[in-house]
């Protein structure tokens, strides 16, 4: 980061920071206004999934520092009491002392509002009568709510968007987003923007046609739908028949054969995948959503879906008012490794310009010009890569990263002062095997098998990586015992918080990566933390409930840590 950019950030920080949104603009336990959401970056509350519209997961709070973080102690342990068969992946939203937590969906979606000023008392508990869903490929979960205008918005596993009264937890309206029987499920935290609520869909493992939708925030009426898989009338999903990634990596495609097969598979786009797993980033100034888009369907068998399969594996900019695309950047055209774009994008300022940052399952961080979608740079690999883009075969092809990445759905965090992006990453060697299968509605449709490799050759672990966004170089890298699944949060106090599958919740020095503190939570910490201020004290909250897919120990508690009095 250049000298003046850095000082510019510091000045902006000092002008905006430090007080919670409710002291700048009262929200009470009631409404969170559009103005408060637009200023969330400077708020001591945690007002949305990614802390602020730029999805930076960067709290401006400075009470907890590298010097005192070692003193953190649990202040609350909020046991939700739900069955423990899912992944507990929520990031709590905290508004003026009220914490909104979603649970794993076992079997129902649940939202609990806790009054932290009153000892963590449950203010209300909403339980959605979730239809039985057998199309949650990687285990039932939910990643959080949106709060705005007196309502709490929840996406449900059975494909609904629900608005709850923020004071009582009573349903105000319910809108159907997608058909769960066909594989459309909701696990992401919605995003509230002005008079609308934005939500995508999971389901790329079931042959869905992915989308992002906008609903009227007050009524639930649908406003627009952006399909991540363009129809032939919209330009088709064939793309430019790219032989390489945009950065020049050979994808080993037989373009002539694909073109020859294109008529035979002309309708493949209708079940082309492209799920949107995570909450988009949003730039209010340009009214632009930045969305990460998942894999094509079926995952590994590209022979039955010729073309680039746009916009799968892409980062796409969408006008929030119209739902129209502004630009798209496909990190891997015609992906046959499930190395898709899942981790939510974040917006940063680099060299005086806005840039979109995405950590790929490919193992690279992509930095794109927010206005044009042009690549500014691709980082060094943040996980081991081996035999990259070798084609899967029926016998199996070993390639790294494995199909979980790289970076899975794990949200990244940005420290704007250092210009670093922090990534929680996985190392899972796998053999990629193709296996032809016809599409069947509601059935898992991978066209493949991902086979774990036994013995030392298949040893798995994780990393916490810091990437200098100005150079693309690894600033530091720390190895963890297990693959990392959960996400990262950073603070102006110079701390990076993240958790591990073995139950440890860790604080890293933002600049050096030194582990400064850790706490054993007793269940996998596989969720992204929230940092917030309550009256005069700073807290960090994280769900410790494990991960179903990776068999990390399950639990049901949210831990809230603070400094001793």
């Amino acid at each position: 980061m250049r000298y003046w950019d850095r000082w510019g950030l510091v000045v902006a920080f000092l002008m905006n920071v430090a007080l919670p949104a409710h002291t700048q603009q009262p929200t009470g336990g009631a409404a969170v206004t559009t103005a408060a959401l637009e200023k969330a970056a400077s708020s001591g509350d945690w007002l949305m999934y990614g802390h602020n519209y730029w999805n930076t997961r960067y709290s401006p709070l400075t009470q907890i520092t590298a010097a005192n973080v070692k003193n953190l102690v649990p202040k609350f342990v909020l046991q939700t009491g739900v069955e423990r068969l899912g992944s507990f992946e929520t990031t709590p939203v905290v508004v003026n002392g009220t914490m909104y937590v979603t649970t794993s969906v076992t079997p129902n979606n649940i939202v609990i509002a806790y009054d932290l000023r009153n000892g963590g008392k449950v203010l209300w508990r909403y339980e959605h009568k979730t239809q039985p869903v057998s199309t949650a490929c990687c285990g039932p979960n939910n990643r959080g709510v949106a709060v705005a205008n007196g309502l709490v918005y929840l996406g449900t596993l059975d494909g609904e968007l629900v608005a709850l009264d923020q004071q009582t937890g009573k349903e105000k309206w319910v809108a159907q987003v997608g058909d769960p029987a066909a594989g459309y499920t909701e696990t992401m935290a919605p995003l509230a923007i002005g008079d609308r609520v934005i939500i995508g869909t999971a389901g790329g493992e079931y042959g869905i046609r992915g989308f992002v939708k906008a609903f009227n925030a007050a009524t639930g009426a649908p406003l627009w739908t952006f399909y991540t898989i363009p129809s032939p009338q919209e330009g088709g999903w064939w793309g430019a028949w790219a032989k390489t990634t945009p950065e020049g990596n050979d994808l080993h495609r037989d373009i002539a054969k694909e073109k020859g097969d294109s008529a035979k598979y002309a309708d493949a786009w209708q079940r082309g995948g492209g799920g949107v797993w995570m909450t988009p980033a949003y730039d209010p100034e340009s009214s632009t959503l930045f969305v990460s888009i998942g894999n094509p369907s079926p995952d590994l068998d590209g022979s039955i879906r010729p073309g680039d399969n746009r916009w799968t594996d892409g980062i796409v900019a969408i006008d929030v008012n119209s739902g129209k695309i502004k630009w798209g950047y496909q990190t891997i055209p015609h992906d046959v490794w499930d190395l898709d774009a899942v981790s939510p994008p974040a917006i940063v300022t680099l060299g005086g310009k806005k840039a979109v940052v995405h950590a790929g399952k490919s193992g690279w961080v992509y930095v794109l010009d927010a206005a044009t979608g042009k690549l500014i740079r691709k980082s060094d690999a943040f996980v081991p890569q081996e035999n990259m883009f070798a084609l899967p075969t029926p016998e199996g092809t070993r390639m790294l990263p494995g199909a979980n990445g790289g970076a899975e759905w794990n949200p990244i965090a940005i420290n704007p002062q250092l210009g670093y992006a922090y990534v929680a990453a996985l190392h899972q060697p796998m053999n990629y095997k193709t296996h032809y299968a016809p599409w069947e509605k509601g059935r898992l449709w991978l066209g493949s098998a991902f086979v774990a490799i036994p013995g030392p050759e298949g040893a798995q672990w994780g990393y916490v990586d810091a990437i200098d966004l100005n150079t693309g170089k690894l600033a530091w890298q720390k190895k963890t015992e297990q693959p990392m699944m959960g996400g990262v949060t950073a603070t102006a106090g110079g701390i990076v918080f993240t958790g591990e599958g073995n139950g440890f919740f860790d604080a890293y020095d933002a600049k050096t990566g030194d582990v400064l503190w850790r706490f054993q939570c007793g269940a996998g910490v596989n969720a992204a933390p929230a940092v917030f201020q309550l009256d005069n004290d700073e807290y960090v909250a994280v769900a410790a409930g494990g991960n179903f897919q990776l068999s990390f120990p399950l639990g049901d508690a949210v831990f809230v840590f603070g400094l001793p009095k």
């Binding site: 057998s134 949650a136 990687c138 449709w445 991978l446 098998a449 086979v451 068999s551």
Partner: protein
């Protein structure tokens, strides 16, 4: 019944048998069409000691990519049947070959629809540990039980959603004189 009539019946019986076999094979190949999973005789071993029969069976979750790896030994939706004699000792070695998802196994009563999660096993200890959570990739467990009732049963993955998604095969308990066998079988509703 005249000779020609006998021939017709015989021929129709043969055709029916061939058709049934063809349907079974087509089903085994389908879902995965092209997968064409064959029964591997090494999955089954039988030991006779005096009058006691021990049946050893390798139960492999996610052996192939069929059904997104939601299969046992490359078969789904009841496409494979393990036949064991009543009163034998069945030792079923479970291995999760799927690199992405946890899986489990249990023997349950024949039922439609297949349950969406764990139910009571039909024979004592006829289940893997972590039935609902499943065992991770490369995870192993052994089911050892005595099938003491003749009948038709299911071997399902009890991780929620997996059985319902087709991750189940069949187990038949035949009379004590029956020879243990594994065979491709037609699904129950085709």
């Amino acid at each position: 019944m005249g000779r020609s009539q006998v021939q017709r019946v015989l021929l129709s019986t043969i055709f029916a048998a061939v058709a049934t076999q063809a349907r079974a094979q087509a089903r085994a190949d389908s879902g995965a069409a092209g997968g064409g999973q064959q029964v591997d005789s090494t999955w089954l071993k039988v030991e006779h000691k005096k009058k006691a029969v021990t049946v050893r069976f390798e139960l492999i979750a996610g052996l192939t990519g069929l059904n997104g790896a939601l299969n046992f030994n490359g078969f789904r939706d009841g496409g494979l049947t393990l036949t064991v004699p009543q009163g034998s000792t069945v030792i079923m070695h479970f291995h999760n070959n799927d690199g992405m998802l946890p899986h489990s196994a249990e023997v349950i009563a024949d039922q439609t629809p297949v349950p969406d999660g764990p139910v009571a096993p039909v024979f004592a200890r006829a289940f893997t540990v972590r039935l609902a959570e499943g065992l991770p990739p490369q995870g192993d467990d052994t089911l050892k039980f005595v099938p003491d009732r003749i009948g038709s049963y299911l071997i399902i993955c009890a991780v929620p959603g997996h059985g319902k998604q087709g991750m189940w095969i069949r187990m038949a308990v035949a009379d004590k004189a029956a020879k243990p066998a594994i065979a491709v079988t037609p699904p129950p509703h085709s």
